[in-house]
Symmetry: C2
Subunit: 385 residues, 2 copies
């Protein structure tokens, strides 16, 4: 029921959720947010539309091309439809919640709009659920957001969940430690991402041995943590790895059933991240269920705070879940008293009240997709539904 049947009626990438998909999405969003709330993440709800500059602060800059822009007839300033909620959270943290004690735990659930879909993901409206942990740099904070997101996903029924933990700051740290100049460092990073050994060797020069090793820096947590011990790393880079080891250890203690993989080099999609980052996958499910990591929470007036957080993508999360159960629907013939229909609802039934007398209540109940019929004070289960 999810895809749009009459495509011409809606712009590309925008769709109606019908029954039971819309109710299912709302239910899963609620349950995820209930999990985050119970871990102290307070729900906030920024507006769908705000001044453009606030949406572009910090990591928001990466989505600049994706923001629908509108002139505000009141202020004559440009506004944008949010393409991401994290920059709004940064604004709120730096202004109205500036004096609230840190660490600040916030969560949200809502829709974002983007100007163009991608080939892989043609949608232009997404439902996102996320959490941000602001004002704290400890290892335990990095572990908390990973474990909180993973537990919530498992709690709503995602099976075979795995998290791929990334360290997008490692290669820049090595380059800085080795005094590799920035342009060369960037080219090296791109070559590493492309797994282009010849290019890596050519660019790395006397450091080729180390950088060529990094081509193989993705795999299970066990493999990569052993591998990392074999790397001859300069000071800052070694500290990055030590921190990773500590966080992975915390995650494994707190979420022993979660599959953890590591990738020390990947940086695509993590351009604004300042430390440990991660992506959630579920076995057999196309796409990412969510992602996040450490970043600087930058408000529109350039208040900067260390932060980590995650965003879950509801379209993928819903694909990872079994279909929702259909509730029992009972047809109550015309004239059934409201006390009686209310008693059914109180027991969890969906009641469908007849609004006119009909010749055949049973046929009417079937026509209205009911599973049961009230007849002469008795509940009849209907054969087909």
């Amino acid at each position: 029921m999810k895809k749009n049947g009459d495509k011409a009626l809606l712009p590309a990438g925008l769709q109606d959720l019908l029954m039971p998909a819309a109710a299912h999405e709302a239910e899963v969003v609620r349950r995820l947010i209930d999990c985050f709330s119970s871990e102290g993440y307070d729900r906030i709800k920024p507006p769908l539309l705000e001044f453009e500059n606030a949406l572009l602060s910090g990591a928001g800059e990466t989505l600049s091309n994706q923001i629908f822009r509108l002139m505000d007839p009141t202020s004559h300033r440009m506004m944008g439809l949010r393409a991401d909620i994290t920059p709004q959270v940064a604004r709120i943290a730096a202004t109205r919640l500036q004096k609230t004690a840190r660490p600040l735990r916030l969560c949200y659930g809502g829709d974002v709009l983007q100007v163009t879909g991608s080939q892989l993901r043609p949608e232009r409206q997404f439902t996102q659920v996320g959490g941000e942990l602001i004002g704290v740099t400890s290892d335990a904070a990095d572990a908390e957001v990973i474990v909180a997101a993973a537990s919530a996903l498992e709690n709503v029924g995602v099976k075979d969940l795995s998290v791929d933990i990334n360290l997008p700051t490692l290669v820049p740290a090595i380059a800085a430690d080795l005094s590799i100049e920035p342009d060369l460092a960037r080219d090296l990073r791109v070559a590493l991402d492309r797994k282009d050994a010849a290019e890596v060797e050519a660019l790395a020069g006397k450091h080729a041995t180390l950088f060529l090793k990094l081509l193989h820096a993705a795999g299970t947590a066990e493999e990569i943590l052993s591998f990392a011990r074999t790397l001859d790393l300069p000071g800052t880079a070694r500290r990055e790895i030590d921190r990773l080891v500590a966080v992975v250890e915390l995650v494994r203690v707190q979420a022993p059933k979660l599959t953890v993989t590591l990738d020390l080099v990947e940086h695509r999609g993590f351009e604004y991240h300042t430390g440990i980052s991660f992506i959630f996958f579920a076995k057999g499910v196309r796409g990412e269920l969510g992602r996040g990591g450490r970043y600087n929470s930058v408000s529109v007036d350039n208040i900067v705070e260390p932060a980590t957080g995650f965003t879950l993508f509801m379209d993928t999360v819903l694909r990872a879940l079994p279909k929702p159960k259909i509730a029992r629907r009972i047809f109550l013939p015309f004239g059934t008293r409201r006390e009686e229909s209310g008693a059914f609802r109180a027991q969890g039934w969906i009641t469908i009240s007849g609004l006119e007398p009909v010749k055949d209540d049973r046929a009417e109940a079937l026509r209205l997709s009911c599973s049961h019929l009230l007849e002469g004070g008795h509940i009849h289960e209907l054969g087909t539904n």
Copy 2:
């Protein structure tokens, strides 16, 4: 916490909901929708943005000036941000749900955006929850939507709820029955709305007695139903009144505690309504909690179906409710195992995990607005919070 403290940061009429307001709104929306779902109203979720013409069909036309418009870079067609959800429901009913059995019961909860706020209501983003009952004309249908909306409002805790039932089609029916020409009929209607007796008398001519009586056609259900019996009404108008009597009777039987008032003449805000309409109020609460009534569900390709429905305005609904209860928050010192924190959450606690060792856990718990502290395996209630 609801109003915007740093006004300059957000465009006028747009605001952040913080804690606990955002969670409270989401919870009340959920409970309202649960009520409607249990009466067979299936939840749907149309997109925030769609082609402009679909938003302008039927009653959508009244909000034409309130729609933010955007060019779709993909189709090069104009899109609009929805200012109302009912036209989207009409589109869905006429297309993807065209073959679904009638009556079709649908509900929704979501945000709408409007270009300008009013003096009374400066907001430009509203959360609306609504239900539509499409494809049925019976008295029981009109009563069902009134009673369903009223029960849901009472269920979430609205006290002293009343519904003002209106019959915006009565004056046009009288005018048509009496062959009063359309321009004169419209002037009469405006004069009646303004309660301008002199103008009504002048315009009504030989029918002045009847129209002057209508100046007093607002009051309690008892008063106005007796009053209506004294009116010497032509055929169609009499049938409108008979229908009103039948619907009011059904509402009073099904919702005996609901205060019902009637207004036979008011038509402002009901320009697109085709029969019995209504507005919900709560004693002592400024503004309407919701409104609705009978209308023609008109899709963008002019498929027309009889319908009735309602929209609830969450800002006013929340003003009518007591403040949400604050959950117990317990501070769990750094190093508390996740099994232990999970056990607290399973019992309904909000857990705040320490992310670093601190000198004084009690002071830290207080600083983080916790009501309780776990210390040496025991729960301590904290004096101040």
